[in-house]
Amino acid sequence: MRRFLILLMVFITALTPVMAGGSSESSDGAYPSKMLTMIVPNAAGGGADISTRLLCKYLEGELGQNIVVQNITGGSLTIGLTSLSEADPDGYTLGYFASTNSNDNKLFQGVVYNADSFTPIAMYASDPHIIVVGKDSGIESMDQLLEKLKANPGNVTFGIGGAWSSHDFLRQKFEDATGTEFLRMVFQTGTAAVTAVAGGNCDVGVPFVSEAVAQIEAGNIIPIAISSEERSPLFPDVPTLKECGIDVVHEMWRSINGPAGLPEDVIKTVSDAIGRASANSDYLAEAEASGMNVSYMPYEEFKDFYWTNHEEYSAMIDAMNSGN
């Protein structure tokens, strides 16, 4: 019994720093002078979590301070982002942010933050979608898919990893650009959608490259196009949507943001540090192995991009809402 209690105490003590986040140290001197907290609104082990942890590993070296990654999950990512928006803008609490999040207040009732509640710092990654079809679908190229779509409007199923996800927005852009219409088939994750395509239960899927590699290599699905500006080094034979004559570029970008009102020097320091990390060959090698697409955009560019992107999605959401 005593041993059990000791075990318990050790266990709880061991866990405390993980839960409580950073302890404070002297606050004078240049930023950063103490441990940073990085809020990830997604669960541990997913794409968002992995990419943030990988970045933080190298960011620690650049900033000279430890970074504690804290997964605050739930409420369709809105709980973690709410905590980020409410954090002190002193630069010691930063967080993961992705392309659609600045419009959350438009998507979900009760969300108290909006695009103004955050300070965009820098984009560090951007994942293209790969358009795939099942191996028994009889489709082998984008032309054949478009043909089938035009022959059966609204009758070709399009698997997406959740309502209002990046997959869903790509579908909207694709339909607008080609004048076609899909039948939405909604799954909880991108992986589940790919599985359905591989099993012949869904016609088209648009997973991130990392979600699809295993199934493509196993020969269960055929990639027919990629949604990035340029071809993917992993699949050099797969054309981009633009090459297929469809004027759509769509990537889900990931950035590090802070709460609104972050001081200029903090923004600069973090943005530059991300820039230096993104030039580190060890980081690039690890990122490539994990299937993450490093794409650094410094603060000067990113702050404008953040707002252009915000407006673009905002308009798309309005169109989708009025269409339904």
């Binding site: 059990f4 669960a43 409420g75 909604v186 992986t191 590699v213």
Partner: protein
């Protein structure tokens, strides 16, 4: 293949790796055993630690946590009737009754043996039949998932036997509760009352922590000076008879575990319930179920640990995680540069086979580590109830918070607990709630997807052979008791 296996044995059997496996098991068992903490959480907390290890060692360490966590949940389930994780709920029905009979040691022995048995054979299937079994993951589309969910919900009837009305009532209400949150298709928030915290629905794990722990804690406080309370578990033992007499049960339960493991939507908890249900159906001693049935424990334990290896099958071959901890496992693999897929077994054969062989070794070690752990854990029966109750409440609070580090989950946990206490007091069974919460969202999603697939012509599902099999099984499971009753009545009438 043989060469790779030898390579794997060599890789797994280094001193450091064996130590990592034992360390993983100990951590996993503790996570599983503490009410409020789970295997998923254990793997999630230790994923960052594994980043600095060698890939092989990291995966073995996490596998240890995973297997240990699934097993550990059953220890408090037996000792104090509080399942450490939802996969041990069926074990809790039987284990507590056995402790009262003074057979606690025997119960823990069987839990340990059945878990190791299920886990070991599941890792053997992972090693030899991966490509074959991975096909199941592809064959199981939305219509099949829908039937599995319905089949799983039919277990509610068994769980509420003798109390049918209340059981079905609780089950139906739970399905409504399970629909809180974002609508899966249109993304519209349902029953969230403008609270963005509820967009993802109620956190199932925190509801279950509250539901199964708090009523027991209240009961403990109420019966502080209960003279009948046993404070010893007696000797830990497993007899040869416990194995030879139930060999069919072991095999059936392990197979159910492996298959449920392979299927992406269902995890160890659903495997335990289904297998427990099947064991009861074929049992010659139905009356023992609920009053300390060894068969029930074997079924639930062999099945929930059978899931562990099974859930890695679609993960390693096709990058489809077969359970929640497996999803986190995927993250750890990716960060170590091991991308699932065919090349895992060729380019990364050394690490992969180290993992596969190590997984089998872990399940053998599980038996010994678990055995030692149980002997210490048995002492918690000696802890004064006041202290034990306080400890459990503290753990539940921390556990509910740790799931996603947000306070809403803690509030949900307490509310669920208070509801649970009153439901229990007025004889409403609690386990249908667990099933409803686990299966409700799965069922809804599958129904919507099936509708999309067949353009809302639901009769089309009968064109799928696996669906037909399930329809047949469901019909049998509902009609069999009625049929048996008829036959018995006729036999009596003739006499």
């Amino acid at each position: 293949m043989l060469e790779n296996i030898l390579l794997g044995i060599q890789g797994a059997c280094t001193v450091m790796n064996l130590l990592y496996m034992v360390a993983g098991l100990v951590i996993g068992i503790i996570f599983g055993a503490l009410p409020g903490f789970s295997a998923t959480m254990g793997v999630a907390v230790f994923v960052p630690f594994s980043y600095v290890m060698e890939p092989g060692a990291a995966l073995l360490f996490l596998s240890g946590i995973y297997c240990g966590g699934v097993y550990g949940g059953s220890i408090p389930a037996v000792l104090i009737g509080i399942p450490g994780t939802s996969a041990s709920v069926p074990t809790a029905f039987e284990g507590r009754a056995l402790v009262r009979k003074g057979e606690g040691g025997h119960a823990l022995g069987i839990v340990t043996f059945a878990s190791a048995f299920g886990g070991f054979w599941s890792s053997v299937s992972l090693l030899f039949f991966s490509p074959l079994l991975a096909l199941i993951a592809l064959r199981v589309g939305p219509p099949e998932t829908m039937m599995i969910a319905i089949f799983g919900l039919s277990v509610v009837c068994m769980l509420s036997e003798g109390n049918m009305l209340k059981g079905l009532f609780v089950g139906c209400i739970t399905l409504v509760i399970a629909s809180v949150g974002q609508d899966p298709v249109l993304g519209f928030p349902r029953f969230t009352f403008g609270q963005h915290e509820l967009l993802g629905g109620f956190e199932v794990v925190s509801v279950l922590i509250g539901l199964f722990s708090i009523p027991e804690v209240f009961k403990m406080i109420k019966n502080l000076d209960d003279k009948d309370e046993v404070s010893k578990i007696a000797n830990m033992r497993v007899d040869l008879k416990d194995f030879t007499g139930h060999i069919g049960n072991y095999i059936r339960s392990t197979i159910i575990g492996i298959i449920i493991g392979v299927i992406p939507a269902a995890g160890p908890d659903i495997a335990a319930f289904l297998s427990y249900n099947e064991a009861r159906k074929v049992s010659k001693h139905k009356e023992e179920f609920g009053n300390g049935s060894i068969e029930g424990i074997i079924a639930s334990e062999a099945a929930n640990n059978g899931v562990t290896g099974g859930s890695l099958i679609p993960l390693l071959t096709l990058s489809i995680p077969g359970s929640a901890p497996a999803a986190i496992f995927l993250g750890a693999m990716i960060i170590h540069g091991l991308r699932p897929g065919p090349q895992l077994f060729t380019v990364h054969a050394e690490t992969t086979y180290t993992l596969l062989i190590g997984f089998a070794i872990i399940n053998v070690l599980l038996f010994f580590v678990g055995w030692i752990f149980c002997r210490f854990a048995g002492k918690i029966l000696k802890i004064p109830k006041q202290i034990l109750a306080t400890l459990i409440m503290g753990l539940c609070t921390v556990g509910a918070f740790a799931i996603s580090q947000n306070i809403t989950d803690v509030i949900v946990m307490y509310i669920a607990g208070i509801f649970g206490y009153f439901l229990d007091k007025y004889d409403f069974p609690l386990s249908p709630i667990a099933l409803g919460l686990l299966l409700g969202p799965m069922l809804e999603e599958a129904i919507m997807q099936t509708g999309t697939m067949f353009r809302n012509n639901y009769f089309m599902i009968f064109t799928r052979p696996i669906v037909d099999v399930f329809v047949f099984l469901i019909l049998i499971s509902f009609l069999w008791p009625v049929f048996i009753k008829r036959v018995k009545k006729r036999a009596e009438a003739e006499q």
